[in-house]
Amino acid sequence: MKTIAIHSYRGGTGKTNIALSMAECLARREKKVFLVDFDLRAPSLESFFEYKPSYFVNDFLTGRCDAKDVFVKAEGFNDGLFLGFASSEIREIKEAMREDKRKQMKILSRILNGKDLLKDEVDYLIVDTAPGLRYSSTNVILSSDLVLLVSTLDKSDLDGTKRMIEEIHEILDMPHFVIINKVPEGVSGEEVSKEVGDKLSQKMICTILCYCEVMSLRGRQTIFHQQPEHPFSRAIEEIVDKIS
């Protein structure tokens, strides 16, 4: 099993769309994929589906169920995609955000043990995370085999991504790649490289343009699911080629 964390410095860079599309892409390639929403502060995977799960990731983290109990089989994805949702109840969100060190230590331990339980049955565990450096995302990064950092061309986004790489991924010796998303139409490849800078360019595996069609789906469906030939979908295929 390969564990891939989808992370970013700032919110709204396209993590959830990319994570779900990659998961679907791998499932179409006959892989068994577990996708889990670890953005405990603002869960959003649920808006793409209509499942009512018996257990949420939050239940697993607090010891109310086992890792496998969280996952629901997604219908119509080649039988290869399983989803773990985070609870959007405010009470659960507050609890998950508590920065209590001992509690967070227990959570990290649950994640490491949960991964061990899944590892023989699953090809890819894809984890959608909360942006920035908080416990929920740091726990996931520490438990991953690969981190994909999604950034836009915004200066603060690029600067923050670079700092995170220098202070976390490089120190941990954690394999990582950068995806630049929402590149405005008409910006040349050269311009992108210049904005992104040498350091991030070396780690960049894909640039995705900004498409109104993605936005018009309003977080109810991915363009990947709807239009496999769309340039966004082709970019996802390209990312999956590079990481698998």
Binding site: K101, R102, Q104, M105, L108, S109, L112, N113, D116, Y135, T138, N139, L142, I168, I171, L172, D173
Partner: protein
């Protein structure tokens, strides 16, 4: 192999010596029996030196283990893990107890 057994015995003896040294130091410095353990949460782990982090992560998963069990996970030498575990113990991240010939490192049950 016979040599392995000899090395194993020497390592055990060294462990025991380390323990005695620690006990002596503790008595001299009159530290209380119950020391407050420091948590090994994700952000603390990020600040640990590389070599200790790997050991600490495995302990976080196993909760209770001998140096041999940790070495099986990290794929490093048992003697190296023993040194790292003892360092984590000295820095108050882990507890340690002896059961016969075995030294067990652990976190307290809540």
């Amino acid at each position: 192999m016979k040599e392995d057994r000899v090395i194993e015995t020497i390592l055990e003896k060294m462990d025991r010596m380390l323990e005695l040294e620690e006990e002596t130091l503790r008595i001299i410095s009159r530290e209380g029996e119950k020391r407050e353990l420091k948590p090994l949460d994700a952000l603390t782990l990020l600040d640990l030196p590389d070599h200790l982090r790997k050991t600490a992560m495995v302990m976080n998963k196993l909760k209770e283990a001998t140096a041999k069990e940790v070495a099986d996970e990290t794929e490093r030498e048992r003697s190296i893990e023993s040194a790292y575990l003892n360092q984590l113990h000295r820095e108050d991240y882990l507890l340690k107890r002896r059961e016969g010939r075995k030294v067990i490192f652990y976190f307290p049950e809540e």
